[in-house]
Symmetry: none
Subunit: 190 residues, 4 copies
Amino acid sequence: MATSSSDKRNAILHATLELIAERGFRGTTMALIVQHSGASAGTIYHYFESKDAIIHELYRCIKRQFGVALMAGNPNQLPWPDHLIHIWLSAFRFYAAHPMETRFLEQYENSPYQINWYEHELDEHMAALVQMLHRDIERGLIINLPLEVLYELTLGVAVSLAKRQIAGMLTLDERTQTEVAEACLRAVKR
Amino acid sequence: MATSSSDKRNAILHATLELIAERGFRGTTMALIVQHSGASAGTIYHYFESKDAIIHELYRCIKRQFGVALMAGNPNQLPWPDHLIHIWLSAFRFYAAHPMETRFLEQYENSPYQINWYEHELDEHMAALVQMLHRDIERGLIINLPLEVLYELTLGVAVSLAKRQIAGMLTLDERTQTEVAEACLRAVKR
Amino acid sequence: MATSSSDKRNAILHATLELIAERGFRGTTMALIVQHSGASAGTIYHYFESKDAIIHELYRCIKRQFGVALMAGNPNQLPWPDHLIHIWLSAFRFYAAHPMETRFLEQYENSPYQINWYEHELDEHMAALVQMLHRDIERGLIINLPLEVLYELTLGVAVSLAKRQIAGMLTLDERTQTEVAEACLRAVKR
Amino acid sequence: MATSSSDKRNAILHATLELIAERGFRGTTMALIVQHSGASAGTIYHYFESKDAIIHELYRCIKRQFGVALMAGNPNQLPWPDHLIHIWLSAFRFYAAHPMETRFLEQYENSPYQINWYEHELDEHMAALVQMLHRDIERGLIINLPLEVLYELTLGVAVSLAKRQIAGMLTLDERTQTEVAEACLRAVKR
DNA sequence: GATGAATGAGCGTTCATTCAT
DNA sequence: GATGAATGAACGCTCATTCAT
């Protein structure tokens, strides 16, 4: 039975994600992707233009997943400031629950690959979040600083802490997660 | 005329820093280091065991510089909470003023290179900072959360914002820098 | 049209044999193997793990050929002492007729490459010969000295003389070959 | 106090001998000779034209030593066939007692280095031996075969067995040594 | 769609040799 | 005599990519 977007294609993406998470871009060779995906070199080049194309596609998929996770549970219907706490926890938990994806993202966003993509992707996936923050600034609920600053004071901290948890450098229980979310809120609250 | 610690050696380190900042580890080939440093391949291997050894040495140098910059101006003699604001600003300004070093660090700390080093280096260079934070926790001045969390809520934010400034995505004037430092302080203050 | 066991693979082995015979291991570079075999560097590494692997494989092939040549004509069915004369002549003629293989063997067996292999290979290819000698010792037909000694007094001499003939230092006609074989027999005969 | 032919020069030759015996020509780099000899690269090139020149010089020294050892005890004054037995034992014992020199010789004589040298050196160092064999052939005491053949039937066997003893593959006690010498004599005796 | 043998430019590294001091 | 920093051509090997089947 045929599949809508090919088992092989998914196997290639999945193998690449695993490999990059554990070996980095440099250590992820096409030969390794061939072995782990079960697809031949020729097949990989049938579905993707190049190794870089696989990586860019993977980035797009993961960003999409992350955007969905962030806005799950309709946070924009929660009262102030619960929606910010909710989003912070969603972000932290997404990263903590997806170590391979997180290790991929941190590598992608700190590499030559990313330079052409970054801003574009930020806008596309975070549009709803950005809108929410704008609204809260206008209402005088949070301090009037550039969006990038607000992002780093809140979700940026979530990413960094999730990375450390994945690396085994610390573990945040649910209670502490909420405490940190509240600390971030204090930082940006007027 | 003889030089202390060899001109060639410094030229190699400097060329490598520039190249990695603009092309990444992978894009920084020995051939490029040869061209930019003015040293031959043989000479490079006279001073360093391998390409990795150059990179590790560069990391050590930069971390040392950063540690010095952070503790410049004797922040531990300033009254609460000025010392934290002072350190935050020192960190941000160091990163913002050293774009190549910052781009290098972000790549190093997100790569296989770093895995063996990270915690050790953190302790060595940040000992004074860590001590300061411990003291403030004990005095009940800042919230009682793991040090890693406090780090990400404060200096972690400085790094991230400096990276964005280097990337040209925003510019923080001195006034705004202080506002962000104060926002970070609100996050960790009891 | 497909070939059994790949033309390229054989071309690589053959080119390597020729090159080592005339230039030694050190002088046989991968670039030269590429030129003489008609295979690209990548193809060579598709069939062999390393330059050393080519050399070890070549050794195995040649030893196999030699073992076959030695036992050709069913010498163990000949009466005493004709079977020893027969084997001696087979050995000498194999070496004399295969100068490249002989030059290869002499280099392989006097190099770090061989250290792990030598004894093992001796047993494997010479099993029948060893058995024959044992039998003749037990029957009191040849002197009771260690096998290695008996080997050097007989086939070892054949190798050395063949090497000299290949080097053009002397030429043994059929008559003289038999005389030398008989001299060797006198050495080991009780 | 000055030395007749420089300590450094001897240190270089000795270090090279040790290194080649245990690592071969390929594994003996100039850097290693620098370390083990205590002479700097510059000094080595003051005494020798090239790495090959060191090796050729070493060969000449060892051949000279060997020639001396072979003719020690004035074998040409011993009665037939004791002088041949005596020379055979001298040869075997020289090799067995000088493992580094023997390992060096076997590598030298199986390498591109040797091709230009071999015959010349044979004549020079073995002149006395050759003369002795000639005399014995004329007297009808030994078989009339080319000198090279007689060499391989006698001293050639001594070399090969000494190599095996050095490699730890067998050990010949004094009694057995004499038995083998006598076996070689039987091979060449009329 | 799928294969995998074949490619070759380019990689990090080595090492015999030189020469200013 | 002696040094050792400097050289650079050449080494063994890798790997993203292609294409005949």
